[in-house]
Amino acid sequence: MRAACQVLLLLCLPVAVFAIERFPPPEFSKGYWFPDVTTPSPRPDILSYMDVAVLFVALALAAYLSLKRRSRRELVVLVLFSLLYFGFYRRGCVCPIGAIQNVSLALSNADYVLPLAAGVFFLLPLLFALFFGRVFCAAVCPLGAAQEVVLFRPVRVPSWLDSALATVPYLYLGAAVLFAATGSAFIICQFDPFVLFFRLGGSAAMLIVGVAVLLLATVVGRPYCRYACPYGALLQIVSPLARWRASISPAECVNCHLCADACPYGAIRPPTPQGESVNRKPAKARLATALLLLPVLIAAGAGLVRLGSPLLAQVHPAVRLADRLWLEEQGLVEGKTEATEAFHIQATPPMDAYREAAAIRGSFNTGSWLLGAWIGLVLGLKTVGASIRRRRDEYQADPATCVACARCYASCPVERAGSQEADVGLTEEAP
């Protein structure tokens, strides 16, 4: 029956046959040469090695300018260079943020071999973060640079809101890895709010988002980096391990809070109140509760997101196609979509589509467990972190959120005194 249907289909749709030789190529009486079919080459590999070299030099320079030279002005020059090179010249591709997805896809799909440039772009900023903190964010990332240059008058985001929104990058990271690993979509690239400025082209919806984020970035310092960037989440995990990182005051901190005012990203933590006797008992109880809650949250997250797995699988076009095909076959819906029409033109048996979709659903089932557990872990560790109170005697840059932008150095009266009257030793007398 099905075979008969297919024959019928073939007869009705001559288009089902691809590249049939209806008219034999002519035999010309006089000499005729086929014109050349030109095949312009893609960008040569050597240029992607150049990108890698530029990335390395820019990272090293960012570390040097921010941590050793402590010069905001020189760092801004590098910011502008990165915006021009990685942004407008390379048109935002490939960047470490998007490379997360290439790495995920390569790990889950043996047919996709990770391109060297994508792999190095993913690893190099992490490697630098192990030594120098988030110097990639400081002056190399084109998305960070785009927000850095439009920052006009930063306002302080309320700490409760800041803390709540700061979990979003981790969730975004989890979702991006799941969708990339299942071959569904590269959501980081699809919803990149800045890349269409670099390419001077893109969808209208993303243009609205991009303009909105840029407008927001004039008053809220780096909104994408702080509340969305999935690569920032990875760097936040790594950078507290940094060997060297931005130290605000070159000598002893005078606790004047000017640096905290100068930081547009809310990354500078004030000293803990002095002389306040901390009652350790309730604090310990709070920590114990948070630690006990951790496995519960992980399990709950895994279970909940697993329930949503069929919904998540709908992101994959092959799953959507198979569902629609089945509905059409059962006569439950009228008409065809573009995708099912295209599918019928190719005259593949629907069984193939169903089988492919089933396999993808299977990987979504596994992936959604993991995504749920990851979300539980992130929220759990957030509660654990909130119940640990660490003593600080001076203003300190939070190693996870500080992007080493070098703004605070110049605001520090100790540093200013040191630079104006070098070697005079005014630092001791600073108020």
Binding site: F18, F28, V37, Y112, L123, L126, S203, L241
Partner: protein, 191 residues
């Protein structure tokens, strides 16, 4: 002066410092090892995007979805497969006044195809890439009524090779595929 180690320079190490250093060492080993493995693999060719002509249904989205305007997708003519028909349905519109070469008779919305007489009854059809917008109208006509010698291909002198192709996001037949950069075209008549 200011390159201070984040851990205090003391003889003894606190537990916290020890754990941080151990974690940094592990991280270094991990990322360094991965980087080394990646570099030593050597054959990690880049991928580029290409239209698989066997899957393409000429829906027209290539002309509109590309981040470039006009699109990086163009019509490519594989001459060796062409029948050199005088009544070419890649060239002539289905609804037309007559079979002359007037613009109103042509299928191409931008008049990007021109034809020249070779010998009776054969005509050669040439695509002007600077005019082609990659809509695939001619490709559809040629596939439905001719030899299918016109195909859509991503032209790599134009394509900026986005990490995620915007056309691939909307292609109804999943015809935009990743191909190795050393074999960037999916032609049937030329290696």
């Amino acid at each position: 002066m200011s390159l201070e180690p984040s851990t205090d320079e003391r003889e003894t190490m606190t537990r916290r410092e020890f754990l941080t250093q151990a974690a940094r060492g592990a991280g270094l080993l991990f990322t360094g090892g991965l980087l080394g493995a990646l570099v030593s693999r050597g054959n990690a060719n880049e991928y580029v995007w290409q239209v698989d002509p066997a899957k393409c249904t000429q829906c027209g989205k290539c002309a509109t979805a590309c981040v470039l305007n006009p699109s990086a997708v163009k019509c490519v003519h594989e001459y060796a497969m062409c029948g050199y028909c005088d009544l070419c349905f890649g060239y002539l519109a289905e609804k037309r006044a007559d079979d002359t070469e007037g613009a109103e008779n042509q299928r191409c919305p931008t008049n990007a195809i021109s034809r020249s007489f070779i010998e009776d009854p054969y005509y050669q059809y040439v695509i002007d890439e600077s005019k082609c917008i990659g809509c695939g109208a001619c490709v559809k006509g040629c596939r439905d009524y001719g030899n299918g010698s016109l195909i859509l291909q991503i032209r790599h002198d134009r394509c900026i090779n986005c990490n995620q192709c915007a056309i691939a996001n909307v292609c109804p037949s999943d015809a935009i595929v990743r191909v190795p950069a050393n074999k960037p075209y999916l032609l049937r008549t030329k290696e």
